[in-house]
């Protein structure tokens, strides 16, 4: 863009803005609701954050282009808060006081946890991509729950539940292989809230199933040389290792462990496995196990058609292959959308009614996304929307990456697992 053109367009922009500002008061009085969207596009979690954010953003745009919430326009704004808590708070306060936000699409652990108190006080449902187990106990039913989070929702199994499902799969795998003795299980991850979230819960369940739980191995969230950690894993003869990290750190871990020659089965969290990682690791990745809450881009399920339509909002060619993080963002928005539709017919779209709308349907699949979003059930005392985990196996396969589903684990909704 030439300099003068840029200047001209920015002046035009300013004029449009001032008009838009003067009109916004009337626009609000008309038929619209506001949804805030916090995304990390440039911060430390942008590695997966941008895919998820694209899913959320495209879905919001798609809903607007196709009738909104049963005729009510969906206003939204995406703010890149770069994973900084103060900026997330600033954005939230701005939306709340100026735009009368009714619901928010959030992102990671940092912003979600900082906003728990505000959201429940202001009665604004927050849909996050932070799947910490402690967000699932809305009333504090489990005495272990420190802070009930009544207005927090997320689409997907919690980190703890995903890890439990992986452990269950590992148990079946161990029996199927006909191996003898107690299998050994190790948690691998940085000493940070995100990798630590399922650590205790998962270790307890592993023990319950008869695993020998080894001391956790600490691997930095930043990519590096992890041969020392891999040697520890090798020497302890770990059979199953749960990876709590994501992105570059997972990549370095697998490469380092291949150099060392470990023979353990890696199982990662939902953020730690996608095609981008497999492509980056290359031939070194073998039978990598990871959970997913949605099918993959090329899978043949009816709902994928809608996801491909949504994708065209930001990629008109429709050729861009989206990750499963993208699809999870889509599901998160569509559950919110249907709760809003319910709210509209049951007293109007307010945060409180949207929350009630989340409880309206059991085994709920958003319309048009059949087969993409797993049937979910939220209740006023249990925010574990999903208790089914699809477990996939990924192989590099000489560049033609192969991802296949190996199992579907449905966990019991145990009371002692609520919020934990």
């Amino acid at each position: 863009m030439s300099k003068s053109l840029f200047r001209k367009s920015s002046i035009n922009g300013a004029v449009v803005v001032s008009i838009a500002c003067s009109l916004s008061a009337t626009a609000l009085a008309k038929n619209s609701v506001f949804v805030g969207h916090l995304a990390d596009l440039s911060g430390p979690t942008a590695f997966v954050g941008k895919y998820y954010a694209d899913g959320v953003r495209d879905s919001l745009a798609y809903i607007n282009a196709n009738g909104g919430i049963d005729g009510t326009k969906l206003e939204y704004e995406t703010i890149d808060y770069a994973y900084k808590v103060p900026q997330a708070i600033g954005a939230y306060k701005k939306w709340k006081s100026r735009k009368k936000m009714v619901a928010m699409q959030g992102w990671g652990t940092a912003d979600t946890e900082a906003l728990i108190t505000f959201a429940s006080r202001d009665r604004i449902p927050v849909y996050s991509a932070s799947y910490s187990g402690h967000l699932t106990d809305p009333t504090g039913k489990n005495p272990k729950t420190k802070k009930p989070a009544p207005y927090n929702f997320f689409y997907g199994a919690s980190y703890s539940d995903s890890c439990r499902a992986l452990v269950q799969w590992a148990n079946d795998d161990w029996t199927a292989k006909g191996a003898k003795g107690k299998p050994k299980f190790t948690h691998i991850g940085a000493n940070h809230p995100f990798p630590n979230a399922p650590k205790k819960a998962c270790a307890e369940y592993a023990q319950e199933l008869g695993f020998e739980v080894m001391p956790a191995v600490v691997v930095s969230m930043k990519p590096g040389d992890f041969k020392a950690q891999c040697l520890t894993l090798k020497n302890s003869h770990t059979n199953y290792g749960y990876i709590g990290n994501l992105g570059g750190s997972v990549l370095s871990l697998i490469k380092s462990c291949n150099t060392v020659g470990t023979e353990l089965q890696f199982m990662s969290n939902v953020w730690g496995g996608d095609k981008k990682i497999f492509k980056a690791v290359g031939a070194g990745i073998k039978d990598y196990i990871f959970p997913a809450m949605t099918p993959f881009w090329n899978d043949n399920v009816p709902g994928m058609k809608l996801v491909r339509e949504i994708s065209k909002q930001s990629d008109s060619s429709g050729n861009k292959e989206r990750t499963h993080h993208y699809a999870r963002g889509v599901c998160s928005v569509f559950f919110m959308k249907e709760a809003m539709v319910w709210a509209k017919h049951n007293g109007g779209i307010t945060g409180e009614n949207v929350k009630k709308g989340m409880y309206a349907v059991k085994d709920w699949e958003p319309k048009g996304l059949e087969g993409v979003c797993l049937p979910a059930t939220w209740t006023p005392t249990d925010h574990r929307g999903i208790n089914t985990v699809n477990i996939y196996k990924g192989n590099y396969n000489g560049g033609d990456i192969k991802i296949e589903r190996v199992s579907q684990v449905t966990l019991k909704r145990r009371d002692d697992w609520l919020g934990y």
Partner: protein, 357 residues
């Protein structure tokens, strides 16, 4: 008050009292009082967004002043200030929930607890200087951060700790509008305390240690004592700031207190002006408003038809992050003495207008 710049000619002080006054003229004193009084009315006038920005300025400002006392006045360095800030937040929540001490008292107690931790990590400062000290304090950042993630009894580990809102005689300060007064009270009292400290015997000792530690020692200043004290006071401020932050959010999670926060505190001090109390506040205001105003520009672009496409929004998001870095570099080059110095120059210019030299 002690500043790093030389006094301009014609600026005479004939008594020590004049030299150590906080407010140089009666007008400044009156203006400050009027400003604080005006701020008291702010919750009734401004919307919640501005109020929350002010609260941010308050808790970050208290913590940043602590760092400026250490770095700007005593000439030491700390790269662990963000961790101390976090420690204060957890400590206050912990004191309140386990010992059942009211939040209003838990906040200063958390300050003292953080002070103890700060002095512990400040111990190497008695022996090492410069880059070595920087690395030693960097270690404190990582040790404390790791402690947050492991100490379930203290910080709640990965599930975090909850912090009750401030409660005085049954009145709960749980909205932004009410918490604003707590933040304002803390900001004003901590800044007055900081200003007073700097004109006391201890404050002068800090400056002497900074300016020439050998001469200071010859003059009878106990270097170890004052270096350690400076670490303690710095951590105390960080603890108070952190505790305010925790009780404002109602929930403390170990996620936010990384090395990035520590560096941000340093940036606030440098941009505001090392060794200047009011400069610290200017630096904090600058650092809080910078991302917000850049976000405002991004927001304006999003209102336009050509601007509200992901390519533009994402591109500007990167520019936003980069420009924060660029501003810091520009400050270091063109205004190394910070906003406080610039403010002084603007004041001088108008004082002698139109005959400034």
């Amino acid at each position: 008050m002690s500043t790093t710049s030389m006094r301009p000619c014609g600026d005479f002080r004939t008594s020590y009292q004049q030299d150590t006054t906080i407010f140089e003229t009666k007008f400044i004193w009156a203006a400050t009082c009027a400003l604080i009084a005006a701020l008291c009315a702010a919750p009734f006038i401004l919307d919640e967004y501005y109020i929350s920005l002010f609260i941010q300025v308050a808790y970050l400002g208290v913590a940043a002043l602590g760092l400026n006392i250490l770095v700007g006045f005593t000439g030491q360095i700390s790269l662990g200030h963000g961790a101390f800030f976090g420690f204060g937040a957890f400590a206050s929540a912990w004191i309140n929930t386990t010992l059942h001490i009211p939040v209003f008292f838990a906040i200063p107690l958390a300050g003292f607890m953080t002070m103890a931790v700060g002095m512990m990590f400040g111990l190497p400062a008695a022996r090492i200087k410069g880059l070595y000290l920087a690395i030693a304090t960097l270690a404190s950042q990582f040790i404390i951060e790791d402690f947050f993630a492991r100490a379930d009894w203290f910080s709640g580990g990965s599930s975090g700790a909850m912090a009750e809102p401030v409660d005085i005689f049954g009145f709960v300060f749980d909205t932004d509008q009410s918490f604003f007064y707590i933040a304002l009270f803390a900001l004003v009292s901590m800044y007055i305390w900081g200003s007073n400290l700097m004109r006391s015997r201890d404050g002068r000792a800090f400056v002497a240690v900074r300016d020439h530690y050998l001469s200071a020692e010859i003059m009878g200043i106990n270097l170890t004592k004052y270096r350690l004290l400076s670490f303690g006071i710095s951590a105390f401020y960080a603890g108070i700031g952190g505790a305010l932050y925790g009780h404002y959010l109602g929930y403390v999670s170990a996620e936010g207190f990384t090395i990035m926060l520590s560096i941000q505190f340093l940036a606030m001090c440098i941009i505001g002006g090392l060794g200047s109390i009011k400069g610290t506040l200017m630096g904090v205001i600058f650092m809080v408003l910078l991302p917000e105003s850049l976000e405002g520009i991004v927001g304006m672009m999003k209102e336009t038809d050509w601007g509200n496409i992901p390519a533009v929004v994402d591109g500007v998001a990167y520019l936003k992050e980069m420009s924060i870095g660029a501003v810091i570099i520009l400050f270091l080059i063109f205004e190394p003495e910070g906003l406080a110095h610039r403010w002084q120059q603007i004041k001088n210019y108008w004082k002698f207008y139109p005959f400034s030299y």
